[in-house]
Symmetry: C2
Subunit: 289 residues, 2 copies
């Protein structure tokens, strides 16, 4: 049983659309609202069979909602938050987002929305985008990081518990950490791999696009995320620039280490380098969805 009554989702893309589908499937009885910037978005929502009240007015969509979820690009969230703050919000209204960075988002939204805002980052997605790629099982077995900020006092632990319960109801494994710790972790295990996939693709194919005729599954998997939307990932990389730069510097040092080993060449050192990578890779839990 969910303690939510009315959930308003802002931004009907892959994440917002999947949330709507998942809520509809798993939380019957909840009133769904979907806000989009343009009214042309409504047709796509109906095509996917989503039963939600549709809004283009960001203040009206927030009115009286128990849970508000921002699924829009992180750089546009402050503008929506300002519109939401104008609404007659219910006393226990909980507001969250699904952005890939948390430090800058929490710093921007807490002053506008106060302690009712707590950041979330469900680690689910795909290199695809748009409501047509949404699916109700997207969050099943995903890790969701929730990030109480400086304004989340112990007295709001009820809000934190509700946020945790909501993501768990969608099948997520929830972890709690500070916005800063979040940004450092995701720079390591999400933003770095994304940039490395782009670098691998460019290094392999820029000077010989025809080599693509020889690709096998190793290349396919190693570079899959490089197919992601450049605009979205430019935003993410710039929002989390400092933490990402640290990770890319480490990758550069590690690449230099390998170049030196291969340059000698030192067979024993190479085996040790690859064995250390294998042993760390083996600690990655297998995908369960």
């Amino acid at each position: 049983m969910s303690s939510e009554t009315t959930i308003a989702i802002y931004g009907p893309g892959l994440l917002g659309g999947s949330l709507a589908l998942a809520i509809q499937e798993r939380m019957p009885g909840i009133a769904l609202r979907l806000w989009a910037r343009r009214d042309t978005a409504e047709a796509g929502i109906r095509d996917r069979g989503i039963q939600a009240e549709f809004f283009t007015d960001a203040t009206a969509a927030a009115q009286g909602a128990s849970l508000i979820i921002l699924c829009t690009p992180v750089e546009t969230m402050p503008a929506q938050a300002a519109q939401i703050a104008k609404a007659d919000l219910s006393a226990d209204c909980l507001i969250t987002d699904v952005g890939s960075v948390k430090g800058s988002v929490v710093r921007a939204l807490e002053p506008i929305l106060g302690s009712r805002f707590i950041g979330s980052h469900p680690m689910a997605g795909s290199e695809k985008a748009g409501i047509e790629t949404a699916r109700s099982c997207l969050f099943q077995n995903a890790t969701c990081l929730i990030t109480p900020g400086a304004r989340t006092p112990p007295s709001t632990s009820k809000l934190l518990l509700r946020l945790r319960t909501f993501w768990q109801a969608l099948g997520c494994n929830v972890l709690e950490m500070s916005p800063e710790e979040h940004d450092e972790k995701v720079a390591r295990i999400s933003h770095l791999p994304h940039m490395m996939a782009a670098i691998t693709t460019l290094a392999a194919l820029r000077t010989d696009p025809a080599a693509v005729a020889c690709v096998a599954n190793g290349f396919r998997d190693t570079t899959r995320v490089a197919g992601g939307d450049p605009g979205l990932w430019t935003g993410i990389a710039l929002e989390n620039r400092q933490a990402l730069l640290v990770q890319l510097q480490t990758a550069s040092t590690t690449l230099t280490e390998l170049l030196e080993i291969l340059g000698k060449p030192d067979e024993e050192e190479l085996r040790r380098f690859l064995a250390e990578a294998q042993s760390l890779r083996r600690t990655v839990p297998a995908a369960v969805s």
Copy 2:
């Protein structure tokens, strides 16, 4: 219909075992032979239901075979080739291998086996190893590169045609190129991605192994091949060292390019960098198996 009568496979691991299973399934009537270094390997072969004559004598296994396929580590192939050359080989005996490098293999094996040897590289495999991971569909829809060498004169085009026909019968898409061109292409689209996956794993997790709790599918895919056998990949990297060094240098330059863009930061340049990667990644054909 296959023109082969007796096929001898050397090395019953993932590739050799999968070949045996695929031949058994798709080419009924062909006599199968399997050679392994130790007689303890026979139990694993029987466990997988492979109906083959079993040998530990590399000369005896080659006697009268129409097709011989070396599925052993590339560095051990010359020793097996020397044993095979001692056999009473049938006049039309065709010999190939499945090694991941071709220049050094062809240079080593042609002087021993002559023009009856033509290299192959089916681009199929996995980060897993051993006969217990073999499967008959491994080659279905895979690309197989075949590499006629300096000693493959036009008069042996019949052998080349037989080799092509054999791989096609297993479901492969066959491409023909020189051993040198092969090594340059696979450095780009196989060996480079493997090393980049190892570098990404090390950069992300070496200094914070606990970050693994946050991983999602992006990290899983980008680093999957880093789980591969360090010994096998040390051999591959050293055999194809020169071509791999060129690719890793290019990757290093590309990583420096990204560090400079992020360092400024230059939003337009970053978007262009990621858009170029996305556009190249979109040329990769989807996996069909």
